[in-house]
């Protein structure tokens, strides 16, 4: 069978030939045994490929998938915007911040001496006010990065005035609830909570009782740790500067308090999705640790091996990250599984 005939047989098999060509192939097939055999082989190949079993997805994967997509949608909103992670579009080119500083320095180096010359009337022109931006030496290393809040850093670097921190919304007055299912908490107190996937992102009104109960874990949380060095108020301000949808998504997740293993699995996947969607956010590290903690919370309630395996995988992945800031806390999350 020639390649040309074979290609026509391939298209014939798919029903993609024009009527005249199809008729010609059928006529040929009536007299050519090798082409008939070839057609049968191609048909068998397709059938075999269709029947080839796919490796099964990890346990629980499809149960949590819709919630993870939802978390991404809610994090992004409908407005078109660049995707994150693997499918992120290349960011538009911007001049590095230091080039503006160099340009400003050059400008001043040229303009300032000119302004010092005496004017026509013998009057000395006063020098301009001191520049707002200190020009680094050419080739000098960039300034050390602030501890948090890259967006604010960008504003400073680009010479824009730094905005006053936004006042934290009322919800932020209440740090998120601890992730581990508090065994001590009465079950009836949570009995009315929604358990559906929708509940994963539902915003519930904060109560004074919850506010008191939840303060400690977050203050010790990883995202908070570097901020604590700048004082508690700076911590609030640092996150407030971020503002926007990322913060909203974070706090929606942080307020969730699932009551069953399935709810914690959804929480685990929602945290995972959050960390993937916002890898550069100061919240990403916290989200990664919460992924592990939510997984362990699911395991504590289900005692299913697959939950523990997943938590171990997540811990290993987290500890393998060069930017993991809460290794001890993450390891502690798995301690209950090591007890007899």
């Amino acid at each position: 069978v020639s390649p040309h005939e074979s290609e026509r047989l391939s298209a014939y098999l798919d029903g993609e030939l024009a009527p005249a060509e199809r008729a010609a192939v059928e006529t040929h097939l009536g007299t050519c045994a090798p082409c008939r055999a070839r057609l049968a082989e191609l048909g068998g190949l397709d059938e075999a490929a269709r029947a080839l079993p796919l490796p099964a997805a990890p346990p629980g994967y499809f149960e949590s998938f819709p919630a993870r997509v939802r978390a991404r949608l809610e994090a992004k909103g409908r407005a078109p915007g660049p995707s994150r992670g693997r499918f992120a579009a290349a960011p538009p080119w911007r001049w590095p911040a230091w080039t503006w500083a160099v340009a400003a320095a050059l400008f001043l180096a040229v303009v300032t001496p000119l302004t010092l010359f005496e004017g026509p009337g013998g009057r000395r022109v006063p020098p301009p006010p001191a520049p707002a931006v200190t020009a680094p030496r050419r080739g000098a290393p960039p300034e050390p990065a602030p501890l948090v809040a890259p967006p604010a850093r960008e504003k400073v670097a680009s010479g824009e005035p730094r905005e006053a921190p936004l006042a934290p919304p009322p919800a932020r007055a209440r740090p998120p609830a601890p992730l581990a299912p508090r065994g001590a908490a009465p079950a009836e107190a949570r009995s009315g909570e929604a358990k559906s996937a929708d509940a994963m992102t539902a915003v519930r009104p904060a109560t004074a009782a919850k506010a008191g109960a939840a303060a400690t874990p977050m203050a010790k949380g990883p995202a908070a740790a570097p901020l604590e060095r700048r004082g508690p108020q700076a911590a609030v301000e640092g996150f407030a500067e971020e503002g926007g949808e990322v913060e909203s998504a974070y706090w929606r997740l942080a307020r969730e308090e699932p009551t069953d293993a399935e709810g914690w699995r959804r929480a685990r996947e929602a945290w995972r999705a959050f960390a993937r969607a916002h890898p550069e956010s100061p919240r990403a590290d916290e989200a990664r640790v919460r992924t592990i903690e939510a997984g362990m919370a699911a395991w504590r309630l289900s005692r299913e091996e697959q939950d523990l395996d997943r938590a171990r995988e997540d811990l290993a992945a987290y500890l393998g990250r060069p930017d993991a800031r809460q290794a001890d806390r993450a390891r502690r999350a798995l301690e209950p599984s090591e007890r007899p």
Binding site: A11, G43, E47, A51, P53, A57, R86
Partner: protein, 195 residues
Amino acid sequence: MSPEERDETLLLARARGGDVSAFEEVVRRHQRRVYGVALRIVRSHAVADDVAQEAFVRAWRSLDRFEVTRPFAPWVCRIAANLAVNHVRSPVAREDPLVEDRERAVDPGSDPLGSLLDAEAREVLEGALGSLSAEQRAVFVLRTVEEMSYREIAEALGVSPGTVMSRLFRARERLARSLAPYLGEAARRRSGGSP
């Protein structure tokens, strides 16, 4: 239009109005198919997961341009196929063999392949599929598994129908060469002939 299709049309209409819960239900219905398309092309669970998620996210963002009375699944599968091929073509892509989940593979007991090819042949076919270029594999998967027309595949991958035809032919040639010893036997069995 069947009740199920009507139901989906309503869900999509609600989703287009911004109802995330309605879209989540649509995702639930089609996630396995979309994930399957992605996995067959990228051959890695982690990447297929990303591709499938991204396909739904992009579908959501393009719902305004989608005619909700049309079938949703082929559309989102085309998006997934396009993303998958682009990923595999990208310099950062690294194709992982599908061995990691081999022990979890679904039981092929009821599949028709059982009567055509044995486990060894499946192994050979798996390897041969892995040796195809991403473009060839995508075309082959979209045609044989998704049963898309050449025109639909061409639209999904941004190529001409003629290119689809030639890629498909080359993919089949290559697979057939790898599977030659088994295909002859399979063809004989299909036609009812004795071995």
